[in-house]
Symmetry: C2
Subunit: 439 residues, 2 copies
């Protein structure tokens, strides 16, 4: 059978990785797929650099539309990033009847509904395993491996940069800015790290997983997003003393509020019990924990970024598309796991309605009755306390009181925090970090 | 589209679980698969019990061949276990042009080559996600998720009973027989636990993963199998003191010995560094660690047994088969990941040729020069030492010396052990447990 012809848009880290892995493992891949996969054309800005990578056998062009419009190309592999030009390119490829493989989480989190609809109408596939958690086959697991289940929640460490920073902060007791600078020097963080450290990248990925897990459209605009740039080393230390680790988690969960179904979709620093496997995922690694009704908890761990781990997912998609291309479109795995006519209309909950537990750190003037005031405010708000850590007073007779609450609603905690901050004995703002037992 | 009709052979734990999950999640499954999956017929020994489970809408018969030969059945789901009758049933189903889903690892480890060949010839699929690691979609990950990779090794905790026993022995400092009895009372171990505790069940599963990872025929007969029944609590303790945990691992790895390619296929108790995620997989949970060239290390964790976790995998297979049934057979995912004409002829290595590290416990008469004798024997065998733990002499001036070696070949260690055991100062046998850094 003649090889499938792929056209690459972009030959940066992931593009070059994809090309190299396809070359190196071509024999292995052909033995599996039953036919070869050949990079027939590459579109890049820097033609000379690209030619050094792919040699003279692959056509290198500057215009990505030349790939998308080339009738000899079976599958377009979009590895450019960003979501304006790429949206156009992907829609054009689909209009031309080509299958698409992409690693672009931002594109799908923002324009996924439009893109999947166009693909469905045209009978082509858009595959995107590489868009979430790099080389971990989590899209496949959620969409196919767990297809018997009613999925209840997905919680993931899905941004390697922030997990690296948090691991270093904890390990070495350093503050955020110091570790960020080191991470940039080591290449674990970009020159402009905003998307990573502010949780936007994680929210893109979470949005995609949420849609697949629950059969809902992608709704990035409704995600609650908090990053790690405000985290202080002292809170990592207190968390540790209380038996927890702080991780930047993307969490999406089915829930019921006041009798109505809703879906949580949130990225924020989270305390996790230290004994959980996911709490022990260190450095730039990713892990996704899925809770589902039949199978229970399953966890998927691996490298979430990098040239070859991401290439691994891109190529797996190429092979899948090659295989399913001959199936009738109705029988293929649907883009968002559920048939497009079967997506559900369950709302994403506002953050105020979320139920979870909380870590609260209150800096107080160490006076008689301070603890009584705090606990009274919480009790009045219907918030019960799981653990308290009170430190000895330090300079200026100030001390930290750390409270771990049982589950409650975010709006009750917000109200309680406002009251605590209005106490004369409270110094500055209350630090509030959410806590998930993931049990 | 009309529902797919499945016929169940067996309605024990997994069979009943499959029926219940299909009923409970029928809406979710139909939304995903695009068509319903209906249990149309069940073959069981105890008709009355079966009727209580499936009600009056499902035909219940005593003869499993009545299901296999029923022209209305699209997919036969074999959940009987054992490998004589089931081999006949599966081959008959294939001959009748039916797809098969099975959770039967023993059947596939022993007769997989014959069964897959028959299925290939007939153009039908035999799906078996449930045969390995229960609800964890590890077959799908190895076969599809990592299809871009040259897989280097697979190491798994793939038997929940033994992992439960080892966790309890370590936690509570109890000996094997005490914990086994408790495990039997709790339902974690069978009345006849031989297949589990002697590593046979793990070897069945490992054999299947090895074939898929490396594109070789199933070769259960060549697996090296050691269970945990000889493990002593003292070795779990020493391992812990040295920073390791002891797990029953199934390990399969590509390697090169004297310039020739070979494959390791072995199940045995193994020391693993305590910091590894897989070392922290406790109780009856399963986990599989895969090392592959592009993606690096990935790990898959979840419940490896039980009614609904196994049902989760059985039903995922039913959905997959439903989907791929319309693809041309050549494009479907091959049974053993590689096209049947592309299987490799790489030999399974004899255990003597394996390279790994070792934990050696020698009980000695505490005399001057004992350590010098031991280390001299190891040095002469070309075995270098990574760590030593020497305990204070106890009763009768005996003491334990524990040695962790660097990587070496098993035959050198065997020879060294024979020499150590022939020393006048050595009491009894040397305890030898293999060690994998899994780094």
């Amino acid at each position: 059978m003649k090889p499938i012809k792929a056209g690459l848009l972009g030959l940066g880290t992931v593009g070059a990785g994809t090309y190299h892995v396809l070359q190196r493992n071509q024999e292995e891949i052909r033995r599996r797929a039953g036919r070869g996969i050949e990079v027939a054309m590459v579109a890049v800005r820097n033609l000379e650099r690209a030619k050094r990578i792919v040699g003279s056998e692959v056509e290198v062009v500057a215009d990505p539309f030349a790939v998308v419009n080339n009738p000899d190309i079976d599958i377009v592999v979009e590895l450019i990033g960003g979501y304006d030009l790429t949206r156009e390119l992907v829609l054009q490829a689909i209009a031309n009847g080509k299958h698409v493989v992409t690693a672009n989480k931002a594109l799908l989190a923002l324009h996924g509904n439009e893109i999947f609809e166009a693909a469905q109408a045209k009978g082509v596939m858009v595959a995107f395993e590489a868009a979430v958690a790099g080389g971990i086959p989590i899209i496949k697991a959620l969409r196919e491996g767990l297809s018997a289940n009613r999925i209840e929640s997905v919680a993931g460490i899905i941004n390697g940069t922030t997990n690296f920073i948090l691991s270093e902060m904890r390990d070495k007791g350093l503050d955020f800015n110091t570790v960020l600078k080191q991470a940039q020097e080591l290449g674990y963080a970009e020159a402009d790290p905003t998307f990573d450290i502010e949780g936007v990248d994680a929210a893109h990925k979470l949005t995609i997983m949420s849609a697949i897990a629950f059969g809902i459209p992608v709704q990035f605009g409704s995600a609650h997003i908090e990053g790690i740039s405000q985290l202080q080393a002292v809170d990592l230390r207190y968390a540790e003393q209380l038996g927890y680790r702080i991780k930047l988690l993307g969490i999406t969960r089915r829930t019921t509020v006041d009798g109505k179904e809703g879906i949580e979709l949130r990225v924020h620093p989270t305390l996790v019990p230290g004994a959980r496997l996911i709490a022990n995922v260190e450095g730039a690694m990713n892990a996704v924990l899925v809770q589902a009704d039949a199978v229970g908890a399953t966890l998927y761990y691996g490298k979430g970024a990098g040239a070859e781990p991401t290439a691994s997912a891109v190529i797996a998609d190429l092979i899948d598309v090659t295989r399913l291309a001959t199936a009738d479109p109705y029988s293929r795995v649907p883009h968002l796991a559920f048939q497009p006519t079967e997506l559900a209309d369950v709302p994403i909950l506002p953050m105020e309605e979320i139920r979870t537990s909380y870590y609260l750190r209150v800096t107080v003037q160490d006076q008689l009755g301070v603890m009584a005031d705090l606990t009274r405010i919480l009790a009045d708000a219907g918030i019960s306390i799981d653990a308290v850590l009170q430190k000895e007073p330090g300079e200026k007779a100030r001390t930290d009181i750390v409270i771990i609450t049982h589950q409650t609603r975010e709006k009750y905690v917000n109200a309680a925090i406002a009251k605590i901050e209005s106490l004369a004995t409270t110094v500055g703002k209350v630090v509030r970090i959410r806590l998930e037992s993931l049990g």
